[in-house]
Amino acid sequence: MQILIAEDDLTSRTILAAILQKLGFDPIEVGDGGAAWAAMQQPLPPGLAILDWEMPGMSGIEVCRKIREQNSANPPYIIILTARQAKADIVNGLEAGANDYITKPYDNDELRARVQVGRRMVDLQAELIAAKDALAHEAMYDSLTGALNRRVILETLDKELKRAKRGKTSVSIGLFDIDHFKKVNDVYGHQAGDEVLCKFVRTIQSNLRNYDYVGRYGGEEFLVVAPDSTGTPNESLYERLRIQIARISTVVRGVRINITASVGVAGSNGSTTVETLVAAADAALYRAKDEGRNRVVYK
């Protein structure tokens, strides 16, 4: 684990770095507050920092305060190194945002114990951030296919409709339903069905623009949101997607499974809401099914 040592005195810094290296850390040494601040602004800054209180230019306390002002999602664990032992100074240091302090002259055992606490806290923080990210991902995406989930795709549609209204542009949506998907599950099993769904979503995702979205609306129904269309529903986009989907081939236990999809497309105007747009696309999808499937119908 990388650890920043900010200490203006060369001898003290050399000794501290050597001890920390022996304790299994990877020390980064700087000689003043400005360099410490710069080191903590790197893309991957050290998770642990030992800052001497008194340094030329910016003091350790000032560096600490500036780091805390950044309000990072992954803040470093900061230990202030100080010869000051007065209670008021220690309180001042902790209030500046330090996690801990070590008074000089420090004892090796105490130093080891305190940096180990820091290492534990940094590790724990990394685990919490990973868990938080995983939860955030789970709350937004369909766990099977990786498409946005129903709530998020509808929220996205709402945002895009508002944006389109402000910018006097439009949004089109395509409601996709895999034809005869129940048969895939019944004949080849649910695992095969899951594989088909994943391939279906990957095909759509790889054919969308960076600012288009796809979400799982329910079962085998998926919703594509294409903002900033040119006023009329983006016909070529949905037709292209339909053709690509018809080319999907999933091999399960030596059997090739091919699918097609029916698509109902609707475009927004100034007064369109999420409900009216989805209802229009749903009606178009119903017609696509009715007219023989594997086709795109525009409302």
Binding site: D8, D9, L10, T11, S12, T14, I15, A18, I19, K22, E54, P56, A83, K104, P105, N108
Partner: protein, 138 residues
């Protein structure tokens, strides 16, 4: 290599040599520094070498502050020298630097001027001791 060789000689020879090798612990507490450096003798030599190289520069900076009557800066520089001296294990230098720090903080220029010859002389003693005693086990 040469340090290890001399260390071996000093360890294996008589008490006469060992008295030559001994350094007053208040000038340099080798055992305390060695303990702090987790018994790493190579590191100890490197740290002493670094201190001997850096300290004259730090004392020169202090001299300059005092000659320019910048007492507050002299106090801050005294604080820095105090930290280095404490870490190297020289309580003589540490106490003198502490006195410099206090004199600087109280804007006592006379005291600062009075302390500097002592600081120079004690550092010379330290240097001389390192030329002989620090090579030996105390």
């Amino acid at each position: 290599m040469i340090y290890s060789f001399l260390e071996l000689i000093c360890t294996k020879t008589t008490s006469r040599l060992s008295t030559i090798c001994c350094v007053q612990p208040d000038l340099f507490d080798r055992q305390a520094l060695l303990h702090r450096l987790m018994r790493d003798k190579e590191l100890l030599e490197a740290v002493i070498h670094g201190f001997l190289e850096d300290m004259p520069k730090q004392i020169a900076i202090l001299d300059k502050f005092i000659s320019q009557e910048q007492t507050a800066q002299a106090g801050t520089q005294g604080h820095k020298i105090k930290g280095a001296s404490a870490n190297i294990g020289s309580s003589v230098l540490q106490e003198l630097a502490h006195a410099v720090e206090k004199a600087g903080k109280t804007d006592d220029l006379d005291k600062l001027i009075h302390l500097m010859p002592q600081l120079h002389s004690s550092f010379k003693d330290f240097e001389r001791a390192m030329e002989t005693g620090s090579l030996c086990k105390s």
